[in-house]
Symmetry: C2
Subunit: 297 residues, 2 copies
Amino acid sequence: MRRSSALVCALAALLSSPAVLADPPPAGPAAIVTAAPAADWATFDANDLLVMDLAGGRRVVIALAPDFAPAHVANIRALARAHWYDGLSVERVQDDYVTQWGDPDGKKPLPPELPQKLAPEYDRPAAGLAFTPLPYRDTYADQTGAAGAFPAAESGGAAWAVHCYGSVGVGRDLNPDTGTSAELYAVIGQSPRGLDRNIAVVGRVLSGVDILASLPRGTADMGFYADAGQRIAIVQERLAADLPANDRPSYQYLKPSSASYAAWIAAKAHRQDTFFLRAPGAVDVCNAIPPVRPTPR
Amino acid sequence: MRRSSALVCALAALLSSPAVLADPPPAGPAAIVTAAPAADWATFDANDLLVMDLAGGRRVVIALAPDFAPAHVANIRALARAHWYDGLSVERVQDDYVTQWGDPDGKKPLPPELPQKLAPEYDRPAAGLAFTPLPYRDTYADQTGAAGAFPAAESGGAAWAVHCYGSVGVGRDLNPDTGTSAELYAVIGQSPRGLDRNIAVVGRVLSGVDILASLPRGTADMGFYADAGQRIAIVQERLAADLPANDRPSYQYLKPSSASYAAWIAAKAHRQDTFFLRAPGAVDVCNAIPPVRPTPR
């Protein structure tokens, strides 16, 4: 009875107080993204979307990051257009680290017309990059934030794409010029920030990271599948631009320069949802990755 | 020919230089852990290990953290001893967030002799906690580091266990005193640091987080399984102390106060492996979780 009375009193107070009604609690992060106007979204170019179809009808869509690794992205586009990835496989799933795909036997020659080696693209000049900084400190970099759809960092005039959950990089051997884009990986665990500036980050999974992250873990060294029969075949890997219109995915990201993105970050840092007793007061770079959505039709 | 000559010259220089041979490169992080002496390891108490056996012979071992959530840990021990968890299930797998297990229908009454509600244990006084700080800044806390086997943080005299990959917390409803330990979750993605100090962290998965992280994602709201048939049954959930000796797991963690732990952190921050061109210069709290190993026999 006491609880019912209290509820009635609270409702009465609410109804008699125009100030309360006119000043609702701040919207939570998800609601801000849902309400973001069309102008706050940017559509990915269809030449920047890599679509990997795995056996079993499982599709992974990756946004490429030419602002950070232009030569590697050009090579990936050329390999996709040559259908070079088709028939290769997911060969490595290491828990809390990466899922990797490519040529498990390392025997498939690259198309002779493509570069057989690529110079490192592990960072770039910060100058000229459209970078929206976060107002919070980072363990590793002078400054973190977002550049286009990608989590990014800056230190001492250099900028780079950061390794977060879903980030896609180019596997390589010890020699830094051995990464050709033939082997790609996606992060499926805690952000391995120690890899930043040591590997070319070429993009970010937009859709299907749950597919890559829920695959059985490999039991051989470094999470490679011990048995070739465990590998998951890549049926085809194409640029969205090269797929038929009725099978071509399209995605948008919330522009980091938009008011909605700023409001989203502020709501995450200072959230006043009913669940949260203590707002964190900050957001780290890997929890600030620009939201994406399928392009509304 | 030029490359061969260069290699020969390098080898000759190496062989003629005792200083190089006597001063090998610093050991990498993994080698430091492998070489850590027995005195640098601490063995978990068998009453602090929660062993969850899932259908299909899949075992998950969790270290409980009584230093951070003593009432919740006491409740978990009591629920395990009452066999209360047996027959419940993994009911929720949300990608890049959590795997949760408990009573999906919320209908199983708690044993009447146990508290039906628990007061929040979201942080504790920093005083009295054996805490080894990291010398690097954090986005959220004044100070991060490790306390026992657990990633931890301190700010303004309070300390708490941090949400990292593998951290185990107590699910609750909006009301902060609704977390009874009947619903537990493990983090399977980027560290959701915004949950810190809003939920009771009660432990850390020592073995089998790969099992929890590779389960199929749920398709209902918040990653709950839409179909009850997708749930994974909990065959039994016991304290290691209550298992027969021949089925009782035992684990050790590298003591944060040890020289080996300090060397491990330093090697991660300043690593000079052949692969790494640029040492990160720092290690964040979720990449500094004390290593564990099965207790050597």
